[in-house]
């Protein structure tokens, strides 16, 4: 006897159609799963048996073979439980194949027959074919976000059996939930003083420029970074779907009944492994932190405390906006276009950038500087010193400008970038800079001076021009760049090697 039921399985952030075939024949009682199942998939046997028995169904004391087709793709996780159970019922004659029809099944089973939601539901919907989809009531809000499939939310296997046998009608989803209120993001108005750091955040948000903050402990680097998502515009439909898919696949909580509409803010601890950061962990090929931060902000606090090879793994995704992870089982590409914000102490004691201020030994500084590679530091267009806020600012009642006011300027500046044919100014191609960021005479001579004195490299020149373009956009000067814009761009680009690597101030 044979039972065939369609379902789907997750790999990376993509769903793959899986056909569950169960064959029951005479022989010693056994249960075999074939078709590249991973451990959690193979364990389905115990869950399915208990769930069937607690739902008043029979477990056939015969030889059972479960095939998960196509056999070349790895099947991961517990989402196939429900489909296996239904195929078992068909194969053992407790339900007839025509009663299943074209329905697909998605869900994990509890031992008591409960049907539970599956991580990555939103990614799996399209892979389950065109027929009605039976899935956990938990996942129905998420499933409703994409497409117009007929959905049957169920809570228990017993319910599914009753519907299949025609004893009850298939349930239909209730009315859609109202989108949840936007989460309260931390507001920039809470930051006291610190005009340079605030401005750097605004420029980073407007131009998509990666930002690195140097500063002693307690200077508020983390507080500043957490305010960046509030300055970014809400995600458009495509970005929202992409981010929601990634968050769903990564098992993160997503808003009930709505796409992720706000730029995510991910702040992995510095103990993170490169797999945790880049993705590809377990057979599930889970997306990593940098993908979870896609279309939002990836904040790396204590940048120098991350393992050097972990940081180097960031370089390719920073360039391409996509991270490709190859494992023996599969190769997966995850979206990874994010705004990188780093924060670090200039040296172990934290005061190393101030002339004459450092208290570290030379060897401690050398060890510290080896931890962050020059090429990575180079990717930060904006590098600023963040000092401790003044006591009078902390205790005063003057609130800074609010996030909403800054975000309005950011949206206008971003619109200008879109008109130039790029998402943000940070992506402006070099050969178009002369056309879209022409330099006034005084601005050109300022840059020439910086180049001649060695403060600026050729690569740095382009980056400064892009940042100056963003500053000009923010200040309502959409055409020529003046010396003010260029001087500000230079001021927001601290020489990282001077901050980190050099124990000496100015030796004559």
């Amino acid at each position: 006897m044979l039972g065939i039921v369609p379902s789907a399985s997750l790999l990376g952030v993509d769903g793959h159609a899986v056909t569950v075939e169960v064959h029951i024949t005479k022989g010693l009682p056994s249960f075999t799963v074939v078709g590249l199942p991973d451990t959690s998939c193979r364990e389905a046997r115990d869950r399915v048996r208990a769930a069937l028995q607690s739902s008043g169904c029979q477990w056939p004391m015969q030889r059972v073979t479960v095939n998960l087709a196509p056999p070349t793709v790895r099947k991961v996780g517990s989402g196939l439980d429900l489909a296996i159970a239904v195929a078992m019922l068909v194969a053992s004659g407790q339900v007839q194949q025509p009663q299943v029809g074209s329905r697909a099944f998605l869900g994990e089973l509890g031992l008591d027959g409960t049907v539970r939601g599956v991580a990555g539901t939103i990614c799996l919907i399209d892979a389950t074919g065109d027929g009605p989809l039976v899935l956990s009531a938990d996942g129905v809000d998420e499933a409703r976000l994409v497409g117009t499939r007929v959905l049957h939310p169920v809570r228990a296997l017993r319910e599914v059996v009753a519907c299949l046998r025609g004893e009850a009608p298939w349930p239909v989803p209730g009315p859609a939930l109202d989108p949840p209120p936007p989460p309260g993001l931390p507001d920039l108005a809470e930051v006291r003083g610190q005009p340079v750091a605030r401005f750097a955040l605004e420029v980073a948000a407007a131009g998509g420029h990666h930002l690195l903050m140097f500063g002693p402990p307690g200077s508020g680097k983390t507080m500043l970074a957490a305010r960046l998502p509030g300055l970014l515009p809400p995600l458009d439909d495509r970005q929202a779907l992409e981010t929601t898919r990634i968050h769903s696949a990564a098992g993160l909580t997503i808003p009930r009944g709505a796409l992720v509409r706000h730029p995510p803010f991910r702040s992995p601890h510095h103990g993170a492994s490169s797999v945790a950061l880049v993705g590809g962990g377990t057979a599930l090929m889970r997306p990593g932190e940098i993908s979870a931060a896609a279309n939002g902000v990836l904040f790396l606090d204590e940048l120098a405390e991350f393992a050097p090879h972990v940081l180097d793994a960031l370089r390719q995704p920073l360039e391409e906006g996509v991270v490709r992870v190859a494992r023996a089982a599969a190769t997966v590409a995850y979206p990874a276009r994010f705004l990188l914000v780093g924060a670090m102490n200039p040296c172990p004691c934290g005061y190393g950038s101030q002339p004459g201020g450092c208290r570290c030994t030379d060897s401690a500084r050398v060890r510290y500087q080896r931890r962050v590679s020059g090429p990575l530091l180079d990717r930060f267009d904006l590098r600023v010193e963040v000092g401790r806020p003044r006591v009078e600012d902390l205790l005063g009642h003057d609130r800074g400008e609010s996030s909403a006011a800054v975000a309005a300027r950011v949206i206008e500046a971003r619109d200008l970038a879109v008109m130039r044919g790029v998402r943000t100014n940070a992506e402006l191609p070099i050969d178009e800079l002369d056309a879209v960021a022409p330099l006034a005479e005084d601005a050109a001579s300022l840059l020439e001076g910086a180049l001649r004195s060695g403060r600026l490299s050729a690569r740095g020149l382009h980056r400064v021009r892009r940042v100056a373009r963003t500053i000009a956009d923010l200040q309502g000067a959409p055409h020529q760049l003046t010396s003010t814009h260029v001087a500000l761009a230079l001021g927001l680009r601290v020489d990282a090697s001077a901050v980190i690597s050099d124990p000496q101030a100015l030796a004559g």
Partner: protein, 385 residues
């Protein structure tokens, strides 16, 4: 040089280059037996009963009987070394090797309480004959400190005072650069003297190679280790004692609350060498050590004239230095005032002046271009003429 002299020098070179051979051990060995017999005894391990100048045994300083290990290491190194070749290589590189007590050993060091037993010199030892002032300070200096060290080096050299320093990063190097600015400027100039803690062919720090070569060419470089000896942390205090011994007066330009320059001060005080300290801002960590010295009664060194007076020389009337920099505009001048001669970040300046970031950045860039302000990392600093 006669053949026996060459042999003596070669043996001294080999002894001075043995692992763990510090100035006191070397002095004890050479004083007891002279270089040739000392080398033979070291090679065969017969050095048991020797004591250092303060009465402690030569090799029993280490816990857990490191003495025996060291004696064996010395014996191995000494018996395989070739004194003649060692001496020849020093001659070839132009390095003079002078033993304490020999003619040609500089008077400036001969009567010191801990004179180097063997002195290696690149350049002419005659440069040690005139008045000498040592300038030392932290490697992690401010731009203002480096500027002042350079000015002192320049003015003292021009006044005929030989500048002694350690060629380290920061203050030391800046002072020597000042000396080199004027050393060829005319009659009456003194030559720079560099004292280093490693072999004269091992340039340390590597970034000061140009300085190293220039000091050797126009003055003299001194060391108490033979060619090829790498710098080691324990050699720098020994180097500092030579700087203190050579100085007629010691000037500390900037020093943190703890640091090598304060060790040089201790060595100077053991030798009754007057110590002067440059006053710094009480907020500057790089001036904590110097300000403490002043609090303890050191004389302040505000300029070269103060140092010359301490040397018993008459300072020339101070001429205002010509400043060739273009005068800053009104906004630039106001911004310079806001610095108050302390390093500041863009943010601090913005808070201090209340100016908009844009105009502040433009004015700062103009001051940088005109040479009134330097920028390093995120810190801006006002520069003296």
């Amino acid at each position: 040089m006669t053949a026996p002299d060459r042999h003596r020098a070669g043996a001294a070179i080999v002894l001075a280059g043995l692992p763990g051979m510090g100035p006191r051990r070397l002095a004890a060995l050479l004083d007891a037996w002279g270089p040739i017999e000392a080398l033979a005894r070291v090679a065969s391990g017969r050095i048991e009963r020797l004591e250092l100048s303060d009465g402690t045994p030569l090799l029993a300083e280490m816990p857990l009987d490191r003495g025996d290990t060291l004696r064996r290491a010395w014996a191995d190194a000494a018996s395989s070394a070739d004194p003649v070749a060692a001496q020849a290589s020093h001659v070839e590189r132009g390095v003079a090797v002078v033993l304490h007590g020999d003619p040609g050993y500089p008077d400036a060091l001969a009567h010191d309480i801990e004179p180097p037993a063997v002195l290696f010199a690149l350049g002419s030892l005659e440069h040690l004959d005139g008045p000498r002032a040592a300038i030392v300070g932290t490697r992690r200096c401010t731009g203002a400190g480096a500027g002042l060290a350079r000015e002192l080096g320049r003015d003292l050299t021009a006044a005929g005072v030989a500048l002694v320093s350690g060629l380290a990063l920061g203050i030391d190097g800046a002072a020597h650069r000042g000396a080199l600015d004027v050393v060829r400027g005319g009659p009456g100039r003194a030559a720079p003297v560099g004292v280093v803690g490693c072999g004269l062919d091992v340039v340390y720090p590597e970034r000061h190679r140009d300085l190293w070569d220039a000091v050797a060419a126009s003055g003299v470089l001194l060391s108490e280790t033979p060619l090829g000896v790498r710098p080691a942390a324990w050699r720098f205090p020994a180097r500092n004692r030579i700087i203190a011994a050579l100085a007629d007066v010691l000037v500390v330009v900037e020093s943190h609350a703890v640091g090598g320059s304060l060790h040089t001060v201790t060595e100077a005080e053991r030798r009754d060498v007057p110590v002067l300290a440059v006053p710094g801002s009480v907020r500057s960590p790089a001036a904590a050590g110097t300000n403490q010295l002043l609090a303890e009664g050191c004389h302040p060194a505000r300029d070269a004239a103060d140092v010359l007076v301490a040397l018993g020389l008459t300072p020339a009337a101070r001429r205002p230095r010509s400043d060739r920099r273009r005068a800053p505009d009104e906004a630039g001048a106001a911004l310079l005032e806001a610095f108050a001669w302390e390093p500041a970040t863009l943010e601090q300046l913005a808070v201090r002046t209340g100016a908009s970031l844009g105009s502040l950045a433009v004015n700062l860039e103009a001051l940088v271009a005109q040479g009134w302000v330097t920028v390093r990392g995120g810190w801006y600093e006002r520069v003296a003429p």
